[in-house]
Structures are given as structure tokens and as C-alpha cells.
């Protein structure tokens, strides 16, 4: 489950699902009060809209529903709501960076802090930090007890107890290609590094139970594989893409390249039999019994394969990551063909095409598939391909109520941020 999907799931039943529309904040007033209002961020439940705002003297504050945090900041950006609905921001004060949570700044300050991530329940907040000339992670205001030469990216476990980072463990002088080829990168799990060093490591993932860590590795200049808890699979490949654990943790899958073809492997053994020109964005149904991936069945012909069976239709430009319905029965994806975007559901593209389409939202059963779309600069909500009369200056992804009967729409109309709940059956 992606971070985005997790956010949607968390605490949804507690949200206000009363049908109706409400003006939450008048953004025009905010814009009149400040020199600049930066990009907006909206909470998953739609109750709050936030943005960094800049005063005439150049100082920053964070505005939430029109009210500003008390703390004056030198800079604020990367506003994100945690899954448990706390607003975070990366902020600079006295030329040092830290994390602000609901206006309260962490005690730890650093020359730089970035790349905020959350656990699934939102209780754990982590950032990458620069400490002196070294790098580490700071989790819930507590830094790892070890710094590294570099950290490129990291992952948090769903429960927030574990963190895994791609770390440089061997120092390189300029143009030291020999040492580089011996392996200078590894993975640190909760600040402890694996014994193994690799030429390259990418895209760490942590198993749903938090017990295992997997990454793509480059073991030799032209040999790639997946490493699980520090141990590379025995098989070597021409290339690999990001691995993924099955939701119930009983298998690790990854796209692998053999010769000029891509296929899907599980625990180092072939899983899918079909050779593809490309295969990436592996996704699992919520229960884990079905696997979908974006594949190129021929050069420049893209589609989705579910359990190694590609859809009948292909698209020329791009197919984005597949999205399973909550019951795992349907699969949809945003697709682009001849310069126009739409959504394809179980292999059937919508009849309407748009300038841009975001990832679809697919509820359970035979309910509608929704997607935020953009045409001629205006946003709209597409329901099974049809866009209603409402147009928005900004729009965020729609969310189904837990029973699927209602949809939460979060958007900006006429300079006002609006929270709207509608009956699913009345959409479209």
C-alpha cells in the first residue's frame, strides 16, 4: 500500500460524512493579507487547508484555514499532513532547519533537513538530516546515533519502528573508480549497516511486518539483483527495478531483466513466464493474491498485466502504476496515448480523454471509478470518464467513504477552499 493509500485508509470512518458543501477557508483573504501564498496542502479528511505564507518583510508563517502559526520562520516548505492528521512542515529558523508539527518545532536543528516520511498510523515522523558534513535520519525528533558519508533515500516501516536507509559507507576521493567498483554503498537498518557493500543500492522497502528490508543492488558493474536483509538473491540480472513484499509478507517480488526482456521474479525465481519489453510498477491487491504491473508488450506499446495476463488494449505514451479496487477485483490505471490522458479500467479506456489525469480511485464492487482530471487549465472530477459541471481552480484526489456510498471532494472554487461530501449515486 502506498503512503497515499494508507492516508486514505486511516481513520476514515471518523470523518464527517454528512452530505453537503462547506467553505472551509477564504484564500482570497489570505492572499490579500500576505505578499505571497505558496502551494496549498489539504488534510485527508478535507477539514484543513494549509500553505506557507510570506509577509511583506520576507518572513514566513504557516497558515491553516486562514489562521497562522505563531512562530515566525525564515522559510517553510514541504507541508504535509500525517495520516493521523497532524500538519508538518520543514522550516528554517536561525539559519537551521527542523520539523514543525502543528506549529511546534522539534528541538533538534540541522544545517538541512528534508524528505519527510510517516508511518502508516502517522505517529512516526522522519526526515533526512545533514549533521556537520555527514548525513543521518531524525525520527520523532531523535537522530540516529550514527552518521554517514551520504544518505540517498530511506523507508519507514508501516508501524514506524524500523527505518532503512541507503548509505555510503566508504569514502571516495575524486575519480577513484577502483574503490567505487569494489562497493561503497550499503543499507543501514535502524542505523546499523549491513555487512555487505554494493556498487549501488536503490529503493529500500520494508516488509509489512517490519521484519525484513529489501533493496535493488548492483553487485558488479553489469550485474544487478535484489538483496534481502543484506543477502543478495543468487540470480544475477542485467537490471532490476524496485522490489515489493506481498502484503502478507510471504514473498518478495521484483522486475528483472534477462537478455533484452523483462519478467517478474519472486524470491529469486521466475514468477511470470511472459517476456516483456519493459515491466515496472508492481502492485498487489489488498489481500495479496493478485499482482499487477505496467508492462510494454512490444516496443512503445504499454499496458497493465494482471497475474501475467496483459490487457488487450495498449497505449503509446505511458501507463502509470496500476491501482487495485479495495476488494481487489478491479484494476485501473492512468494512461496517456497520442498526447492525451484517460483512465483504463480492467483493460477498457474511458471514452473521454483529458489534458491530464491523476491516478484513479477505485472503490469496492461495481461502484464508479473516480479521477482528478485537468482540461484547459481547469480541474474536474471524472466519474467513469464523465466530468460533471463543477470546475475547480485546484482539486485533490477524491475519497470514498468506508461504505463507498459517499465521496469526499476537496477543491478550490472562486478562491475558496471547499469541502464537499456527495452521494456516490449522484455523481456523474
Amino acid at each position: 500500500m502506498t503512503e497515499r493509500e494508507t492516508e486514505r485508509e486511516t481513520g476514515r470512518e471518523k470523518w464527517n460524512w454528512d452530505v453537503g458543501s462547506r467553505n472551509v477557508a477564504d484564500l482570497g483573504k489570505l492572499r490579500a493579507a500576505y505578499t505571497d501564498v505558496h502551494e496549498l496542502t489539504v488534510s485527508a479528511d478535507g477539514e484543513r487547508v494549509a500553505a506557507p505564507v510570506v509577509a511583506e518583510d520576507g518572513s514566513f508563517r504557516v497558515a491553516v484555514n486562514g489562521e497562522v502559526w505563531e512562530t515566525e520562520l525564515e522559510k517553510a516548505w514541504h507541508l504535509k499532513f500525517t495520516p493521523d492528521d497532524r500538519l508538518t512542515a520543514l522550516v528554517r529558523v536561525d539559519d537551521m532547519w527542523t520539523v514543525a508539527v502543528e506549529g511546534e518545532l522539534w528541538e533538534q536543528r540541522y544545517p538541512f533537513a528534508w524528505n519527510t516520511k510517516f508511518s502508516a498510523d502517522g505517529r512516526t515522523i522522519a526526515v533526512q538530516i545533514k549533521a556537520g558534513m555527514e548525513y543521518s535520519l531524525c525520527i520523532n525528533d531523535k537522530p540516529w546515533d550514527r552518521n554517514f558519508l551520504s544518505i540517498r533515500n530511506y523507508a519507514l516501516s508501516d508501524d514506524g519502528r524500523r527505518a532503512a536507509a541507503l548509505v555510503q559507507v566508504v569514502e571516495l576521493v575524486t575519480a577513484d573508480t577502483e574503490t567505487f567498483a569494489e562497493g561503497t554503498w550499503s543499507v543501514a537498518v535502524d542505523s546499523e549497516t549491513w555487512d555487505e557493500k554494493f556498487i549501488g543500492v536503490w529503493a529500500p522497502v520494508i516488509s509489512p511486518d517490519g521484519e525484513h528490508v529489501a533493496v535493488q543492488t548492483r553487485t558488479e558493474r553489469f550485474a544487478y539483483t535484489i538483496a534481502l536483509d543484506g543477502a543478495p538473491w543468487e540470480s544475477r540480472y542485467g537490471c532490476v527495478w524496485e522490489p515489493g513484499f506481498r502484503p502478507r509478507g510471504e514473498g518478495l517480488l521484483a522486475p528483472v531483466r534477462t537478455g533484452a526482456s523483462w519478467s517478474l521474479a519472486e524470491d529469486g525465481e521466475p514468477l511470470w513466464k511472459t517476456p516483456y519489453v519493459q515491466l515496472w510498477y508492481v502492485r498487489f491487491s489488498p489481500a495479496g493474491e493478485r499482482v499487477a504491473a505496467v508492462v510494454a508488450t512490444d516496443f512503445g506499446r504499454w499496458t497493465v498485466a494482471v497475474d501475467d495476463r496483459p490487457w488487450g488494449c495498449t497505449f503509446g505514451d505511458v501507463v502509470m502504476a496500476p491501482v487495485f479496487s479495495t476488494d481487489g477485483k478491479r484494476v485501473a490505471a492512468a494512461v496517456r496515448h497520442e498526447g492525451r490522458w484517460t483512465v483504463a479500467v480492467d483493460g477498457e479506456p474511458w471514452s473521454h480523454w483529458f489534458d491530464t489525469v491523476w491516478d484513479p480511485v477505485v472503490g469496492a464492487g461495481r461502484g464508479p471509478v473516480l479521477a482528478k482530471v485537468k482540461n484547459q487549465g481547469a480541474y474536474g472530477l471524472a466519474v467513469d470518464g464523465r466530468v460533471g459541471a463543477q470546475r475547480y481552480e485546484h482539486l485533490w484526489d477524491p475519497t470514498f467513504s468506508p461504505d463507498g456510498d459517499k465521496v469526499l471532494i476537496r477543491g478550490v472554487q472562486s478562491g475558496k477552499y471547499i469541502r464537499r461530501v456527495v452521494l456516490t449515486e449522484e455523481l456523474g
Binding site: Y135, G238, F299
Partner: protein, 436 residues
């Protein structure tokens, strides 16, 4: 005197004839071998490719430097001997493929049969890369791409911090200026090459000034993928080439921008539009890709920026191979230059016939050991530049820019270079409401 390059010399000590044979034959699989053989067989030795090659022309028409000789004496022998060549042979082939040809494709344009010599050279580079025989400095750049997704070992915080610093600097010139990071749904995602944040940060401020004045809805990504350069494409490491192009396009796709605009760089354009997508299975870029020259052209044509001061000094134009011979942007480039300059003196030849700068194709990235060889191979460009009498050479490509800087230094030409954006921000009108 032989040039010492650890990338060659250390590899030489490790290579065995068996390994060489195995690698050559793995690359020259039957289909590829037949294509290469057909190219070589089709050649009628007319010599037109030689007269098209700046290396040959610059080195007193030494036949060893003719394109046909470069491939015949390297790939031709590998094919003929079915890969049974010596380590010393491979070292020489690597020198030819990495240093004596940048894949500018001028020779292919003049070949009456359209023989794609650059592709043959890149095939040799692929073989060399698999054998670990790559010039040290371009291999280091490729290593940087592998480890950091950018070509100059830029740390993730340094990238974001530099963008913010340039934003603050540029705000001193233009009120309300922003460099919005990670803005979903923006019209444009702008990408740069790593030397910009590393050593030429002012270029980021410059583009921010332009985007603000022209009211372009734009963004830059904060995460890896911001660097559009791709030296792995030239070092023969196609797996890293594909990986970083995927990351580059993923940033644009995640943000659902309308199009990607890249700064003034030629090879990056090639990587993002042709070589990268092809390796990944895309027919072309998954979203529209626009080179900076096209952006400037559009903004001028649409009246979104106004040039109020024009240069009067004699100015000439370097045509970057990858956006002119490869993309046909020479007319748009002229439109932009003429909007900025009153006294344009064209090089002879010009447009797609113009000579390469000899820095592209990864040659300049092979570093200091090969600088003199590179400059010796580009004497023709020095002569061409001198003849213009221009005091300024416009170079809308990073490789061209540094290549021409080296040429005018080495050959003592009284000339300086400039990117287009540097002239645009100095010579365009800052609307009253945006003045500081």
C-alpha cells in the same frame, strides 16, 4: 607520447583475450553484427565522411582519423576476427571510440548511404564499458550517476539548498519571484544538468527570472531526477543510462506536468528524448520535451518577454549537434539570437553543417588527460571561430560552452562565450510591477 589514463591502463592489466572475445561476441549478437557488417560492406570509400570530420580536418587530413578508418580499424577488425583481438588492440579501440569521435553525426549526414558511424562508435564504447576499459573521468561521472542520479556527486540537500539560495538571490532582482518545488500539475517542469547547482548556480536564478517575467507556471523537483544529464549514455553503461532517464521522467510524470523543459544542454536532450526512452521501451519521451531554445523562441514569439537592449558587438553562434543536426532547432536559435543581437556573424559552415565543438559525446568528460588531444582535434573550429571576427560566441549547450571556452583559450582567440539565458535576463524588460 601515449596518454596515461588509469581507466585504460588498469583495465589493460586485467583483460584476457578470452574475456574480450566473449564480450565482443555478446554485444555483436547476430543481428547487431549483420547490421555493422552491412554498414562496413556498404561503404565505397568515397571519402565524404573524412571531409565531414573535424578530427580528420584538424589533424592535417591524416587518414587514420577518417571516420571510416576509425570504425574499420576497430569494429571492422573485431568482426573480422570474431572477437579474437588482444588487450592492446582494445586499448587502442577505446582511445579511438572515446577520444577521437564524439558521435556528432556530421559524417553520417554526408555519407551518400547514410551509414551511421556514430552508432558503430557507440557500439565500441559499449564493448569497452563491459570490459571495464573506460577513461577514468567519464567513468567517475557515470559512477556519480549510479550513486547519486546526478553527474557531479551533488548531495540531495545541496540541490535543494542551492535552488532556495538562487531563489533568494533572484528575488533581489525580481519581486515575487519563486522557484516552486514539486508543484503538481504545473505547466512546465524545468530540469538542469548537475554542473549548474555545483558550479554555475547563477543559471538557476536566471531561468527563475525568465519564468517569473514570462508568467510561466513552472516547477522543479526536489528529489533525485532533477539532473537531466547522462554521461552513462556516452560511457557505454546503458543500464545506468536507462535508470537515470527513468528517474528523470518519473519526476515529471508524478507531478503530472504538461511538459518538460530542459536547460541549454545538447547531450541531455538526446538522452531524454532518444537514447533513454528507447532503452526503456518508450517510442519517445512520455511527455513533451522542450529544449530551452524552443522555450525562449515561444516566449519571444508570443510576446511574453520583451527584449529592450540589443547587443551591437559582433556575435556568432555555435550550433550544438544534438539540437541542430539532431533536432533541427537552428532556425529557432537564429530567431532568439537575432532578437538579442544586432550584429550576428554566422560561422561558415553553419546550421546542421556546422562543426562540432569536440567537447560533446562525452569527450570533455574524459578529463584532463585527453584535453590536448581534444584540442588538437578541433583546430578547424578555431579557424572557423577566428574567421567570424566575433567577440562573443553564443553556446546554447553546456558541452559546447566549455568546449569553445577551451578552444578560444588554447588557440588565443579574442572571444568570450555566453549561454542565451545570460543575455536574455540582462536584455529583457522587467515589468514595472516586478521591479525591486
Amino acid at each position: 607520447m601515449a596518454v596515461a589514463d588509469p581507466g585504460f591502463d588498469l583495465a589493460l592489466a586485467k583483460l584476457t583475450p578470452e574475456r574480450i572475445e566473449q564480450v565482443i561476441n555478446s554485444v555483436l549478437s547476430q543481428a547487431v553484427a549483420e547490421r555493422m557488417k552491412l554498414f562496413l560492406k556498404t561503404c565505397v570509400h568515397c571519402g565524404l565522411c573524412a571531409d565531414a570530420c573535424h578530427t580528420y580536418l584538424s589533424r592535417n587530413r591524416d587518414p587514420d582519423f577518417a571516420p571510416v578508418a576509425k570504425v574499420r580499424d576497430t569494429l571492422g577488425v573485431m568482426l573480422k576476427k570474431k572477437g579474437r583481438v588482444s588487450p592492446e588492440f582494445m586499448k587502442n579501440a577505446a582511445r579511438v571510440a572515446f577520444i577521437e569521435c564524439g558521435g556528432c553525426r556530421r559524417c553520417s549526414m554526408y555519407c551518400p548511404f547514410g551509414i551511421d558511424i556514430a552508432t558503430m562508435i557507440m557500439t565500441i564504447r559499449r564493448i569497452c564499458s563491459l570490459l571495464g576499459m573506460v577513461p577514468q573521468f567519464i567513468q567517475d561521472t557515470t559512477n556519480s550517476h549510479s550513486a547519486t542520479s546526478n553527474q557531479m556527486w551533488v548531495q540531495p540537500d545541496d540541490w535543494i539548498d542551492t535552488v532556495m539560495w538562487q531563489e533568494e538571490d533572484a528575488q533581489l532582482e525580481v519581486a515575487g519571484l519563486r522557484i516552486p518545488l514539486d508543484k503538481e500539475g504545473a505547466e512546465v517542469m524545468y530540469s538542469v544538468i548537475a554542473p549548474e547547482p555545483k558550479v554555475m548556480a547563477q543559471l538557476i536564478a536566471n531561468i527563475a527570472v525568465l519564468m517569473t517575467v514570462a508568467k510561466v507556471d513552472w516547477t522543479m523537483p526536489s528529489a533525485d531526477g532533477w539532473d537531466n544529464s547522462n554521461m552513462a549514455m556516452f560511457s557505454g553503461d546503458l543500464e545506468i543510462m536507462g535508470r537515470i532517464e527513468r528517474e528523470h521522467w518519473e519526476r515529471a510524470l508524478e507531478l503530472r506536468v504538461g511538459k518538460m523543459v530542459m536547460g541549454e544542454c545538447g547531450h541531455a536532450y538526446r538522452g531524454a528524448v532518444y537514447d533513454g526512452p528507447k532503452w526503456l521501451g518508450w517510442q519517445g519521451p512520455p511527455l513533451p520535451m522542450v529544449h530551452a531554445v524552443e522555450l525562449y523562441y515561444d516566449l519571444l514569439r508570443e510576446g511574453r518577454i520583451e527584449i529592450t537592449d540589443k547587443l551591437t558587438e559582433p556575435v556568432t553562434i555555435q550550433d550544438p549537434c544534438n539540437i541542430v543536426r539532431g533536432r533541427g532547432l537552428h532556425e529557432k536559435l537564429r530567431y532568439v539570437v537575432h532578437a538579442l543581437c544586432d550584429n550576428v556573424v554566422e560561422m561558415d559552415p553553419k546550421f546542421e553543417h556546422n562543426y562540432c565543438c569536440a567537447a560533446g559525446g562525452g569527450i570533455i568528460n574524459c578529463g584532463a588527460p585527453w584535453k590536448m588531444a581534444r584540442l588538437k582535434s578541433i583546430k578547424i573550429k578555431a579557424t572557423q571561430l577566428k574567421k567570424t571576427g566575433a567577440s562573443l560566441c553564443i553556446t546554447p549547450c553546456h558541452n559546447c560552452h566549455h568546449g569553445v571556452v577551451d578552444i578560444i583559450g588554447h588557440y588565443h582567440i579574442d572571444m568570450r562565450t555566453s549561454f542565451l539565458i545570460e543575455l536574455i535576463v540582462k536584455q529583457m524588460k522587467i515589468p514595472e510591477g516586478l521591479g525591486v
